[in-house]
Symmetry: C2
Subunit: 323 residues, 2 copies
């Protein structure tokens, strides 16, 4: 499979993503300085995967365009808000190749900036006038927080089993993509069966996407990733390929040494190499492919049109990044 | 005027506040440990002023009881969420006489715990099914964040003028009380004129309440306040009595010394005493009384019943705390 480029895939909806961007920027127009500049910085430069998903799902289901742009902007703002808070949680210095707000502002002000984005995101949802949208929205926010807290407070006691991993990435990534697709369906007045299919499509896509992300962290190219290989391992974050590897690794395996605390670059590189040479990567990718297939299976029950075709390709893209 | 006790005032609605408390606790029931315990701790022990306001305003306007309890719980959760984030902002060690979550958990997990409460608060609002409720809700969240950020990022350059002060306490306290009253009116299907009166009632009450709070910080009893006299001054926070004092103070006034950085206890005490001996306290209280009168004036345009009488007394209470 040739490498799919997200930019190429999203080319047909580029003018619409620009519309979404305008709604997002309008939502920040009232913020006084220095808040305004900080927020405009925080919401720009992303891959726009979530707004794209909402726009495409909206098209597929025939939702009114203005509402779709507003929803997509609300999701983009929510995503930016959670990233700002996550950077505080992880004490991260860089995001999207730029300094995080967290490194420039005091922690407290950074937290409040995230809250402000959340407030503006909620305001956009409120304007859409559908209480059920808000229920889905509140559900995904709760799932993300609960998942992050579990990870943050229980990091020391991570058992590294597959079930726990899936629960974590479901909360971190999949719930958001599921909600994005479902909310677009709500705007179109989709049936309950269609809403369930949209949810399943987004959720399975999210699981596939995150597993591939976690694989790329081990096998990827440092320059393309924008972070050193084995970052997760270095942070003690036990991802699916690591779990598969540990299930068949001996007591003196270099991966265990890293997880036990030997986190210098040489140890992390050695451990990453061992995982790549085991069958763990292939096992994880097989699982990602299963999720991708289930995501596309859900799509087949939804209206067949150009937008659906792009969504189908987005699922392929989620996998192809690993090739 | 004899001292009014909030507990006595709220006695008639004590069983209803217990109902609100049940809704709040139910909203936290799904939180896994250690999150659940932390959140139950965070939402208990407050004065319940905001839920009481929503319940009383709901009664006054004839809103359905179940909806009112849900709204009151949502407001209580929102308030608890903002307090958790504020404690991170202020690096506060104690709140309501107990350790803050912030001192027990990592900063990041604490931020996420606030986000979780916010998510549950939004979910309750969503269940009420009125988009306009959410618009008011989003507005108050945005106002509070923007106000706190302004205070946090521009703390060094505080000019200490009255206009800036009012803007700050409006965002910090008054907007929330205004929204609490207005949202209760929305549940009752109140007219636009009534909604405006409810907003004005809550906003003016909030301004009066916060000014008295700021006066008590200087003239109050350390044991009753639960914090040392002059805490605001020590933090360089320029409140209304301090502003009035500075408007007529000489260049060598002890208050200027504290604001310039001499923040040991002896200096803060001397400066607090000087403010109390000037006419600044009385000027600030006069302003609080003006706001209280405007709050009660707004009430007179609303349905006359027992609940309105308690709200009227709540305004008296806001002032009487200072006597």
């Amino acid at each position: 499979m040739s490498t799919l480029l997200l930019d190429d895939l999203l080319e047909p909806i580029r003018p619409e993503l620009a519309q979404v961007e305008r709604v997002t920027q309008d939502a920040l127009a009232d913020a006084t300085e220095p808040l305004g500049t900080a927020l405009r910085h925080a919401v720009s430069g992303g891959k726009q995967l979530r707004p794209a998903l909402a726009v495409l799902a909206g098209h597929m289901m025939g939702a009114p365009l203005t509402s779709v742009y507003r929803l997509a902007a609300a999701l983009d703002l929510l995503h930016a808000a959670t990233l700002i808070h996550d950077d505080v949680v992880d004490d991260a210095a860089e995001r999207r190749g730029r300094h995080t707000l967290h490194t420039v502002w005091p922690t407290g002000a950074t937290v409040l900036a995230g809250d402000y984005l959340l407030a503006q995101s909620i305001a956009l949802i409120a304007d859409l006038g559908q209480p059920r949208l808000l229920q889905v929205y509140a559900g995904v926010l709760r799932a993300m927080c609960a998942g992050e807290i579990r990870q943050s407070v229980t990091a020391q006691s991570q058992s590294g089993n597959r079930e726990e991993y899936v629960r974590r990435i479901e909360a971190k990534t999949a719930a958001f993509l599921a909600a994005s697709a479902e909310m677009a369906g709500l705007l179109a007045g989709a049936s309950d069966a269609q809403l369930a299919a949209l949810d399943a499509f987004g959720r399975e896509l999210g699981l596939a996407y995150q597993i591939v992300d976690d694989v790329l962290d081990l096998v990827g190219d440092q320059d393309r990733l924008g972070k050193p290989v084995g970052s997760d391992l270095r942070q003690g974050l036990i991802t699916l390929p690591i779990i598969y590897h540990l299930e068949q690794a001996g007591a003196d395996d270099p991966v265990r040494a890293v997880l036990a605390g030997q986190r210098c670059t040489a140890h992390v590189r050695a451990a990453s190499a061992v995982i790549c040479q085991s069958g763990a990567i292939e096992l994880a990718l097989t699982e990602a492919r299963d999720h991708a297939r289930r995501s596309q299976a859900a799509l087949t029950t939804l209206p067949d049109n150009d937008a659906r075709q792009v969504l189908w390709s987005l699922v392929d893209y989620a996998l192809a990044r690993s090739q």
